[in-house]
Amino acid sequence: MILFPMQRINRWKYAFLFIASMSVTSTWLTGCAIPITYHDAATYKNLTDLKAEVVMLVETFDSKLFAGNEAAIADITLKFRKAYEYEKGKGIANNDTLKQFDEIWKLLKEDMADYRENGNATLGPKYFQEAAVVLGQAFDIAIATENLKNRDK
C-alpha cells in the first residue's frame, strides 16, 4: 500500500496514542484503582496457624479457669500482634487484609475479656464452644480472601 506523507504520520501518531493509552490504562488499573496485594504464602500460613491455636484455646474457656490459661492468652496475643504487624507493613494496598485482622482481633479480644471477667457464668455453659466456632468461621473467610488474590508473576 502506498502511503502519502500525511497518512504515514497519522499512522504513527495513532500507534503512539494507542500504546500511550494502554500504558496509562494499565498504570491506572494497577497503581491507583486497584489497591490490592498479591497472594502471600506467609499471610496464608499465619492465618491458618492462628486459626488452629485460637480456636483450640477459646474452646477451653468453658471448662478451664482463667488463671490456668493466662500464659496461653499472652502467647496468642503476641502471635496475633506479630502477624498483624506483618500485614500492616505491606502498606495501603493491603488494607483489606488488615481490616480483616482488625475484626478478628476484636472478636478474640471480646472473648478473652468475657472469659477473664465472668467465665461462662453469665453466658451459658457452652458459650465459648460457640464463640470458638465463630472465630473459626472468621478465620476461614480471611483465609479464603487470601486465596482469592492473584499469584505474583
Binding site: A15, T30, T122, P125, K126, E130, V134, Q137, A138, N150
Partner: protein, 107 residues
C-alpha cells in the same frame, strides 16, 4: 429444624413482637441459599436457638453470639471486595503482558 420450630412456636407472645412464621421462613430459605456464607449463618442461628432452649446458652450469651454475625458479615463483604479487585488486577496485568509487551511490539 423441629427443635428450632418447636421452640419458636412455644413462645407465648401476646404482644406479637415476634413474627414467628417470618422468622422460620427466613431460616428455612437461608439454609437453601446458594451462598455458603448465608447457609452457614442460618445454621448458626438455628443451632444457637436450640442451645438457648436447652439452657446451654443464656439469653445474654445468645445475644452476644448473634451480634458476632455482624463481624462475620463485614469479613465476607471485604472478601467479595477483594474478589472484584483481584479480577480487575488480572485484567490490568493481562493488558500489560499481552497488549503493552506483546501486541505493541508487533505493530
Amino acid at each position: 429444624m423441629s427443635k428450632f420450630t418447636d421452640y419458636i412456636d412455644g413462645f407465648e407472645d401476646k404482644t406479637s413482637t415476634l413474627a414467628k412464621d417470618e422468622l422460620k421462613e427466613l431460616i428455612i430459605s437461608a439454609k437453601k441459599d446458594k451462598s455458603e456464607f448465608v447457609r452457614l449463618q442460618a445454621e448458626n442461628v438455628e443451632r444457637w436457638t436450640v442451645m438457648l432452649a436447652a439452657g446451654e446458652l443464656t439469653p445474654l450469651g445468645f445475644k452476644k453470639l448473634v451480634s458476632k454475625m455482624d463481624v462475620l458479615t463485614k469479613l465476607e463483604t471485604i472478601k467479595l471486595d477483594v474478589a472484584a479487585k483481584a479480577s480487575a488486577q488480572r485484567l490490568a496485568d493481562g493488558i500489560q503482558k499481552h497488549v503493552i509487551v506483546g501486541l505493541c511490539k508487533l505493530i
